[in-house]
């Protein structure tokens, strides 16, 4: 869901019949609602995994909206939400100095060990 969805573009463009409740378009409200990133832990999953994003008026409502949008089909047993603005991310500009140096350090991979078959989660 992008931040600049316009009512004219899609969602609000559906014709309204006499029975459909007509609300004034909350165009300013949508811009006020912060973007949240949603992480869900599946039933068999070991960790929370990013599944998408949504807009919500506050943290509590974001958890609820995440439940309604992202766990409708038994996908999860635990939800984290975080404001997208609170995530500090690496910049694409520093990609090479950040990640290239690990490319040739084969000795950092534990590939020289024999792992028994019954060791899980490897």
């Amino acid at each position: 869901m992008s931040t600049d969805v316009t009512a004219e573009g899609g969602h609000g463009a559906v014709p309204t019949g006499p029975e459909v409740p007509v609300e004034p378009k909350a165009s300013t409200a949508r811009r006020d609602w912060p973007l949240y990133e949603v992480f869900v832990r599946g039933k068999r999953g070991l960790n929370h995994v990013h599944v998408g994003s949504l807009h919500a008026p506050d943290d509590e409502m974001a958890v609820h909206a995440a439940r309604d949008v992202y766990t409708r089909r038994n996908e999860g047993v635990s939800i984290w939400v975080v404001r997208a603005a609170d995530i500090t991310a690496s910049s694409p500009d520093e990609k090479d100095p950040m990640f290239a140096p690990s490319g040739d350090k084969v000795y950092r991979h534990p590939t020289f060990y024999d792992i028994p078959e019954d060791v899980p989660h490897m």
């Binding site: 869901m1 995994v49 609820h64």
Partner: protein, 302 residues
């Protein structure tokens, strides 16, 4: 073993064919439940009671569905649709139960033999055979009023279902046990919005209060038992709606106080007209939309 996404995990858990997208891992709500009607319980009473509870859910589900494509926010639209689908699921089980004890009214004469009882009851009864309350049938109003109505409806239904878990009818008890989790969420969702609207901006508070004032008169007939409910309550099968009054008042007062909204005077008890099939024009209009397709194509399947 570590899946890339939760969807991969679901897929792996269900054969890897991507079928989870159509719903997997669900429990059959009535699996293993004894469907025998308990001794001494009148079949017609039981079926009629199931229609009351089922019609409330069916009609409110239809009302909530009217927000789909028109909700103020996409996230909220999905939330409202989820609530509607929960209610529709409850309606299906309850109408099927009514059909199983042969409470079908005139629906079976009109419906094609190929459709199940629950569909015959939903699509081929006229308004005067519906037993929902005016609270379920009322128009949505604006978003604030919709949330106030949902708060009231979910509060009443949760109070009834919580007690109904001990019903002597094992099917009703199982439906109630499943429904309590759903209704707890519905009530919570509506309460969160009423709190935020009531204690939000001047405009949201004004609209929420107008919603409360519009919904409050619909509380009048919620706590008056019909003869059917009275007989079944005495038999340990149904809940006398008068028994949930105190809890409902308590919950609603608490939420509205916290939302800084004014609690209007509680309306005087009124006869349960909706439960007896007397409805206003808004239910007729709603049923035209709900039933139109099925009545035009009575043997259609999808």
């Amino acid at each position: 073993m570590h899946e890339e996404t939760v969807y991969d995990a679901l897929d792996h858990a269900h054969g890897g064919e991507g079928h989870w997208a159509f719903g997997t891992g669900f429990d059959e709500p009535l699996a293993g439940v004894d469907t025998t009607v308990p001794d001494g319980v009148d079949h017609a009473d039981l079926g009629t009671y199931c229609l009351m509870l089922g019609d409330d859910a069916l009609v409110l589900a239809q009302r909530l569905t009217q927000w789909v494509t028109a909700a103020p926010e996409l996230e909220e639209e999905v939330a409202i649709a989820n609530v509607a689908l929960d209610l529709l699921g409850q309606a299906r089980l309850l109408l099927a139960r009514a059909g199983s004890v042969d409470v079908l009214g005139r629906s079976r004469e009109r419906a094609s033999a190929s459709i199940p009882d629950e569909d015959a009851l939903a699509y081929f009864r006229d308004a005067d055979e519906f037993r929902c309350t005016a609270l379920s049938a009322a128009d949505n109003g604006d978003f604030g009023q919709t949330m106030v109505r949902l708060l009231v409806a979910a509060t009443v239904r949760l109070a009834v279902f919580a007690r109904l878990r001990d019903s002597r009818d094992p099917v009703l008890a199982a439906i109630a046990a499943k429904g309590v989790h759903e209704l707890t969420y519905h009530r919570d969702h509506a309460a969160r919005w009423v709190l935020r609207l009531g204690d939000g901006t001047a405009e949201s508070s004004r609209r929420a209060q107008a919603g409360v004032d519009a919904v409050w008169p619909l509380l009048a007939d919620l706590f008056t038992a019909t003869d059917v409910e009275r007989r079944l309550a005495a038999a340990g099968v149904a809940v006398d709606p008068a028994d949930v009054r105190a809890e409902v008042h308590d919950v609603l007062t608490t939420v509205l106080d916290r939302a800084t909204l004014r609690v209007p005077p509680w309306p005087a008890d009124a006869p349960p007209r909706g439960r007896l099939g007397e409805h206003g024009p808004e239910l007729v209009a709603l049923l035209e939309t709900l039933q139109g397709l099925a009545r035009q194509h009575p043997a259609a399947t999808w």
